[in-house]
């Protein structure tokens, strides 16, 4: 890796400077990335009538060999952020810097070498594999596209990969339909590994799997990270899974980062009311703690990203909201007493040790 990472420029937009104390080098820096999807009116003379503000100024820093978990509600922009980083959709504004090089909106040809370094694993192990291709072709396709191995060399490389991810190399000629969901996700993992990438973006990689297979895939991802020094951006809505795999966690709400920090800071000492609500809503797989759980009930629906609320986007649903929250966007910053890498975007952060009012399921029932 060459040179120091470029400094994050615009602090007011919530940009996050690289951590000077970090041991490992910064692999990926995302700087105030914005992604709007235009909405056009119908008909011949289609006009631009608005935007879906999927990602609206997200910054993050990811170091070599680390895992950053991204959590948030459906439609909060997690997957769009992933696609922006992987270069699958053009970015409206902002920068993606990979190994110190600006890879924002590169041409296809210029992006080609970076595609080898940044790979994705998708949620749906059924839909993300071509059903008419044999497994050997699916896993070997990256070698063909990037012309790194051919013929027998390619076959051997593919079978090594299959072995590595726990598939039987003799199944080289089978079709995806002949594999179970967990095995298909292994195929997706093998395909992502083929070109020895540095960064793997995992977009809900275990959401479609049952818990026992989920544990197998999570262990596999952990082993591969150790063996190959991989860096993961791990998107999931299961908070326990994210806590298990991540070093750092970013909580997103409606296209923006609500809270960011080392996982134990975010899980045990969170300040953002949305983070608190999200954590309190996650059911524990234990009946006694489920019954005792004090859940913070949020009112209202998630607003539309076409017309998001002014100021703090969470303010219409926030139990602590005051006037300023509807007027000013809270900067993502370290709050008093927090380590410098625990950042919260909130005007009225919940102090450590204070609980927001919640209710158990039994209390909710009695209240009716």
């Amino acid at each position: 890796m060459s040179g120091p990472p470029p400094s994050a420029a615009d602090a007011s937009a919530g940009a996050m400077p690289a951590d000077p104390d970090a041991g490992a080098e910064v692999l990926l820096q995302v700087d105030s990335v914005v992604k709007y999807f235009p909405i056009k009116s119908g008909g011949m003379m289609s006009r631009h009538i608005g935007d879906v503000k999927a990602v609206d100024g997200v910054s993050l820093t990811l170091r070599q060999g680390q895992t950053l978990g991204v959590v948030g509600e459906t439609g909060c922009g997690k997957s769009t952020l992933a696609r922006c980083i992987a270069g699958l959709v053009p970015i409206t504004s902002g920068k993606v810097i990979f190994e110190g090089k600006d890879i924002t909106n590169l041409s296809r040809r210029a992006m080609q070498p970076f595609r080898r370094e940044i790979q994705m694993i998708f949620q749906d192990p059924y839909g993300s594999l071509n059903p008419r291709l044999r497994v050997g072709s699916i896993i070997g396709e990256p070698f063909t596209i990037h012309k790194t191995a051919t013929g027998n060399e390619r076959k051997r490389a593919v079978q090594d990969l299959m072995q590595r991810v726990g598939l039987n190399p003799e199944h080289y000629n089978r079709f995806p339909a002949e594999f179970s969901g967990g095995q298909r996700q292994r195929i997706g993992v093998a395909r992502a590994l083929a070109l020895r990438p540095k960064l793997i973006i995992c977009d809900e990689p275990v959401s479609a799997l049952d818990v026992s297979i989920q544990a197998q895939i999570l262990n596999l991802l952990a082993d591969l990270q150790d063996d190959f020094g991989l860096t993961y951006l791990f998107i999931a809505h299961d908070l326990e899974v994210v806590r298990h795999v991540s070093n750092e966690v970013m909580v997103m709400y409606l296209g923006r980062a609500a809270e960011f920090g080392p996982k134990n800071d975010v899980y045990d000492r969170s300040h953002h009311p949305y983070t608190r609500a999200l954590l309190s809503a996650a059911p524990a797989a234990d009946p006694e703690s489920a019954a005792a759980r004090q859940r913070i009930v949020l009112t209202g629906e998630v607003p539309s990203p076409v017309n998001p609320p002014s100021g703090c986007r969470f303010h219409p649903r926030c139990p602590r909201a005051q006037d300023i929250c509807g007027q000013e966007i809270p900067p993502l910053e370290a709050k008093a007493g927090d380590p410098h890498d625990h950042l919260t975007a909130c005007h009225f952060p919940v102090p450590a040790g204070e609980e927001l009012a919640g209710a158990t399921r039994a209390e909710v029932r009695r209240a009716r």
Binding site: I213, Q216, E240, V241, P283, P287
Partner: protein, 203 residues
Amino acid sequence: MIAMALSLSPKMIIADEPTTALDATVQAQILDLLIRLQEESDTALIMITHDLGVIADIADDVLVMYAGRAAETASKHDAFYQPHHPYTMGLLESIPHSSAAADRLKPITGQPPSLITLPSGCAFHPRCAYVMDRCLTDEPKLEPVGAAGQHSSACWLPANSAGLDERAAGLRRNAVAEGRTHVAAKVAEDIAQSPEGEGSVVV
């Protein structure tokens, strides 16, 4: 979707993975809604899910299925705290827990079997750490375990070996020591050797 399901005020609702793709806050809202409807109109609810958190939250009784058959049926309390079937125990152990210090999860080995060619005997035997000789040949029936008669399991382990404590584990070890000769021992060895790869081959 829920409104459609309710339009004829049914006596029973079958909810098939209703919250699987949803995140925690929305999932909680959907579960609240289902429970409220259930209480208001006295509707029965069959909740199909692979999320054990949802079951812990809202179920009264639990049916654990494996390869097309009932593996265990129990009250919610017994399913989580007094499981008898090794598959139920394996599911509970697979979940990541924030409290667990260990950084490796404990998955069930192998893959779910093909429903076209089910394994002989107990369909779970190629993945079961407690596999015994009879598991390879005889299919266990759903039999009562525990005193209340509310709890049944389709497993050859002794009925009194339900639970996650040391006493129950000891009873299971004894049963395995008695019930396992070289045939089952070979299966157990295969399971131990391919801890997270392909246990049974899906054809």
